[in-house]
């Protein structure tokens, strides 16, 4: 059993929180540049140029890309041969608290959905834990903004709806979101599993880098088709009209019950943040 100090978890999570909020991934920067060459709308090109400039300022000055520094969503892959001294959940939350406080990130979490006040340190985090073989601990921090999260949806479809039903639902969900989730967006889609698991799949899909296709050629083709259909909607950057509405579509699947066909769409804004560390 490998021992991992509590402090290592705190420091790692704090660093991931600030890095995710300051440094947009190279895949996103490339996607903005590729988008610029395909965008026909002047307003759309102007927006994409602003996003490139924004990413540059955030990186150079170490300030958050967006004032909405997100809910700290954390994917924890815990090796069964690794042991954290103390409570790992507390260590992660201490890391979030440190990252958001020392990093001048906005705190956006209310202690109770109805009666709550701002907790003041952006905790508690949402932590998705998976046990894996080995003695490593993999932590991904994916801060998630409210604007795009609000445009997301779970739909318990009928098995008879099939893949065509999935496509119609995804495109329609993006159409109904229009300008609200800060296009150009990234679309995470979950298909299968149960009511709660399909939403997790859609969220997990957002951890992929732009251009990373589903390994199953069937779903890879569906991803390409959905991206094209979404970009034909005309919503464009910031919804002002244009070709670049989405930068990519990612599908994650899971076996399903014979009676159920759950589908979830989790929309991410163009500040698609995720940083990973392995301890």
């Amino acid at each position: 059993m490998r021992q991992v100090p509590y402090k290592t978890i705190v420091e790692t999570v704090a660093q991931l929180c600030t890095d995710a909020n300051y440094f947009l991934g190279d895949d996103m920067i490339k996607a903005f540049k590729d988008g610029l060459s395909k965008e026909d709308s002047d307003a759309g090109k102007d927006i994409l140029n602003q996003l490139l400039k924004n990413a540059d300022i955030a990186k150079t000055e170490k300030v958050p890309l967006c004032q909405d520094c997100g809910f700290a969503v954390i994917f924890l892959e815990l090796g069964t041969d690794a042991h954290v001294e103390g409570n790992i959940i507390e260590a992660i939350n201490d890391g979030v608290k440190k990252g958001y406080t020392d990093g001048y990130l906005r705190k956006s979490i209310l202690s109770d959905p109805v009666k709550g006040r701002n907790t003041g340190d952006n905790t508690p985090a949402i932590i998705h834990t998976t046990l894996v073989p080995g003695d490593k601990i993999k932590i991904t921090v994916a801060p998630k903004g409210g604007g795009s999260e609000n445009m997301s949806e779970v739909n318990m479809m009928k098995p008879a709806d099939g893949i065509e039903g999935v496509k119609t639902f995804v495109v329609d969900r993006v159409l109904r979101s229009s300008a609200n989730p800060c296009p150009p967006i990234v679309v995470g889609v979950g298909v299968g599993g149960t009511f709660e698991y399909v939403a997790f799949l859609a969220k997990k899909a957002l951890l992929r880098n732009i251009g990373e296709r589903n390994p199953d050629p069937f779903y890879a083709d569906v991803e390409r088709e959905l991206l094209e259909r979404i970009n034909n909607l005309g919503i464009g950057p910031q919804g002002l009209g244009g070709r670049i509405t989405a930068l990519d579509v990612f599908i994650e699947t899971h076996p399903r019950h014979i009676a159920s066909f759950p589908v979830a769409v989790n929309i991410n804004c163009h500040v698609a943040r995720h940083k990973t560390a392995v301890i």
């Binding site: 955030a58 004032q67 009209g241």
Partner: protein
């Protein structure tokens, strides 16, 4: 693209009638900030017939909850939040003199109707470009509801703050128009 129009609050009906969807606008002067919780409080005060802690006549409210300022900065990243959440409150504020709103995303029919009726305008700023936008903010002062943290009402002094007219007082909607143009 045509040259941007320059405006400074307080805005008159005439200023509003001069703005059309798609116009690029640079705002210089003092604007207010407010989002979900602050709107709820203002709305409830008006309904009770009580005095507001801020003057909204002729003013522009920017829907923003800024990030904290790093040392040496006047404000942290400060891009717009999604506007539809303020839709239940916006018509009453316009009835009481509010002229402009800055945010991102589409507005409801009732807000668009109120812009026609009370002569108001809705500006779109670039969502997610908070670090860039903060460069046009010169000062930031909390003037009400400090207890709300990022949601407190601030007075911002801005210089050439760039926005686009998304809804005008003539019923125009840039989101609908833009999408129609590029739909395949």
């Amino acid at each position: 693209m045509s040259e941007p129009k320059k405006i400074s609050p307080p805005l008159s009906d005439e200023d509003i009638m001069n703005l059309k969807i798609g116009d690029r606008v640079l705002i210089t002067g003092k604007i207010l900030t407010g989002r979900d919780s602050a709107h709820k409080r203002l709305y409830e005060l008006i309904q009770k017939g009580e005095k507001l802690p801020i003057e909204i006549k002729g003013q522009i409210i920017y829907y923003v909850g800024p990030a904290p300022a790093k040392p040496g900065y006047v404000i942290g990243s400060a891009g717009p939040t999604t506007s539809y959440r303020m839709d239940p409150y916006a018509p009453l504020l316009m009835e009481h003199g509010l002229k402009g709103m800055i945010g991102k995303g589409v507005r409801s029919q009732s807000v668009r109707d109120a812009m026609k009726k009370f002569k108001g305008v809705y500006f779109a700023a670039t969502g997610g470009a908070g670090a860039l936008i903060a460069r046009n903010i010169r000062t930031a002062t909390i003037i009400a509801y400090e207890d709300l943290g990022p949601e407190a009402i601030r007075e911002l002094e801005v210089e050439d703050f760039p926005v686009i007219v998304a809804n005008d007082a003539f019923g125009g909607d840039l989101y609908e128009e833009g999408m129609k143009k590029f739909r395949r």
